[in-house]
């Protein structure tokens, strides 16, 4: 039976260990990207916490300190971009955390929902960040 023409004609896939050259052919699925970004945003915020406290202290010390923050930090395009990046990190990490806890309750665990909710999560956090930045003069 193993020598039937059908069995001979069918090309068998070959599985090997992957090497660096194969990495380009593998793409992380959207839920995987969402998970990595959750980690990266969390780590980035943790590393920046002490700098954020320094800014909080500056802004609360005196009126001059508050104005110095506005002109020196918020007035600097690069520092402003970093702060807006951290705001996105906070909002994304929060939205991803809500999705994480929904999944803790065994909801949205199938592939289709995991993909859709990951997409929605990126959209919602970008929109919320834009809304907050729009309100920050």
């Amino acid at each position: 039976m193993s020598d039937t023409p059908l069995a001979k004609a069918r090309a068998r896939p070959v599985y090997r260990n992957i090497g660096f050259g194969d990495l380009a052919h593998y793409r992380l699925p959207i839920p995987g990207i969402a998970s990595i970004v959750h980690r990266v945003t969390g780590l980035a915020m943790f590393v920046c916490l002490l700098f954020l406290l320094a800014m909080l202290q500056m802004s609360l010390k005196s009126e001059a300190g508050f104005e110095a923050f506005r002109s020196v930090v918020w007035g600097n395009p690069i520092a402003k971009l970093v702060l807006i990046g951290l705001l996105f990190a906070l909002i994304y990490h929060l939205v991803a955390g809500i999705r994480h806890m929904i999944q803790d309750a065994n909801i949205w665990l199938d592939l289709a929902s995991a993909r859709t909710s990951a997409f929605v999560m990126f959209g919602v956090s970008i929109a919320l960040t834009a809304l907050v930045v729009w309100r920050l003069v």
Binding site: G42, L43, F46, L49, S59, L94, L136, V137
Partner: protein, 112 residues
Amino acid sequence: MASSSSKFISEWWLQRISAVIVAAYVFLVLALLMMYGTPNAMQWQGLFANVGFKLATILTIIATAYHGLVGTLHVWPDYVKNRAVLSVLNAYTWVAAMAVVLWAVYILFGLK
């Protein structure tokens, strides 16, 4: 075995409880921003002079430091395999988390 699994479960719950505390504070601050717009020096410093807001802030910073400590300690070993480097990163993580809480207490309750 029993103690390590119960430690895992309490850590699992604490990670979620601390997350909910931080989320509530973030929603509060963002809601204030949306309602009143960017604060000036007087409004900003007045908000942080309020005892209730000071307590909410320190509670949130403690929750943040704990949440960040646990999260970061879990993430390092997935990427860093060298044990010496890992020890340095873990030490940094503990020191940073404690420093954040102590400094925040100074800013909110000690700064004149």
